[in-house]
Symmetry: C2
């Protein structure tokens, strides 16, 4: 109960937010109670549900700066079993303070502990950097999912991320596990995708999810409609692959 899973990569545009939104929606469909927290000041988790400025009562950064209680920042997504906490109160607010103190305060971890008993999974969507926000998400997590876009820069970005993860595990969070590495935007018609896929499966062996997420334009279209893919077009490859991933994760635990 209450496993905290952070979705991390400093490489931009690899599918962190798309994975967060669609995996959570799939797990919710499989009757798991889910909370998704948006630690990325871009606020694309709330964008994915069509939240406008006036729909957001408060966000995780308001809690981190102690101006709000975390219970007051939990928003419904109108999907059963699926709640979210946006990143910030008002996207447009000038100079909004996104600063998170370096790790010594372990602020985020303490904040989340009160929620663990209410949800089966708590996911954290991270910004594209190895900043304090991502470090806090690594310290707070029980496990992590690392999306790897099947392209060259994303492959090269792995080294630094694994180095940070190892350092966090050693000094702050010895229990931190890899839930898995997720191949995203896979297009087996092109050699680059195949080459990256083979390299990743060879180097990371059993840590890579069997499920791969294909490049599927539907996944890029659905944020415009403010819904996860499974709620908009459940038979497209984007929806089916994230549902498959959700089942694979539950199978890892021996529960389905």
């Amino acid at each position: 109960m209450g496993e905290i899973i952070s979705i991390v990569s400093q490489k931009g545009g690899v599918g962190k937010t798309t994975t967060a939104v669609n995996l959570c929606a799939s797990l919710a469909r499989l009757n798991r109670k889910i909370l998704l927290i948006d630690l990325d000041p871009q606020g694309h988790v709330s964008t994915s549900f069509g939240f406008g400025k006036f729909d957001i009562k408060g966000g995780i950064y308001d809690v981190i700066h102690s101006s709000m209680n975390i219970e007051d920042t939990i928003h419904s997504t109108n999907i059963t079993n699926f709640d979210l906490i946006p990143s910030n109160f008002d996207n447009e607010e000038d100079g909004k303070n996104y600063y998170i103190a370096p790790l010594k305060e372990l602020k985020l971890k303490n904040i989340l502990s009160s929620l663990k008993s209410h949800y089966e999974f708590i996911f954290i969507d991270c910004p594209p950097s190895l900043s304090n926000a991502t470090s806090n998400a690594l310290v707070s997590a029980d496990s992590i999912i690392i999306p790897i876009q099947c392209e060259y820069y994303a492959l090269k970005a792995l080294g630094k991320l694994l180095k940070l993860t190892r350092a966090i595990k050693k000094h702050y969070n010895p229990e931190l596990q890899y839930r898995g590495f997720l191949l995203t935007m896979v297009d087996l018609r092109n050699n680059l995708s195949k080459r990256v896929m083979n390299k990743v499966r060879y180097t990371l062996k059993g840590l890579v999810f069997e499920t791969m997420i294909p490049r599927n334009i539907r996944l890029a279209e659905v944020p415009y409609y403010g819904k996860p893919a499974i709620e908009f077009d459940k038979s497209c490859k984007g929806s089916t692959s994230y549902l498959e991933l959700a089942k694979e994760i539950l199978n890892q635990d021996g529960t389905t």
Copy 2:
């Protein structure tokens, strides 16, 4: 002489680095002397030229922390008219200090002034965040190029970026101009791309480059070979579109 152009977007994976590398390579082909500076700790500019750990003598962050002179960090790309400054000395170095002081020090701007007389254009590739690094790049720049991936999240990200740019222009850099907004990964076969393209052209009017960069797998493949697209396959759509963009930029100045 010596125009400093920053390529910025906090949205990840929109084609900042791909634009930096391929636009610079095209301008160099058109006999302009070019310097490309990598302000992104990911270091993907050097990755694009196949630089390994031992090829890097020093980077811009070494200059910012005053441990090196900028002249000593300039590396040849083996392409005529095209030099680069990597982001850091050693990609793998632990805890490497990427900290840039907030704007009050205007450190980067002062560092670059000595180079302006040696190059016709100095480009800065930025990390995917609205951090101090990006702010410094906005303060140092004469003009900026903003890549917009033709997808929904990238479109939504514009508001915050324009807000920061306006604030920088007002308080720190009144001469800052928009060189242009660049539509990237355009695929006119799908509605999403068309919708974003039309929205951007309608809202930003004359600020959007005529040239659009199509989604072209070659652009994603060439970093593996350590070359810009024009040096590897000059007839692919990726190469021709960036060459077209280079010409459009020179036409803006009335020189070709």
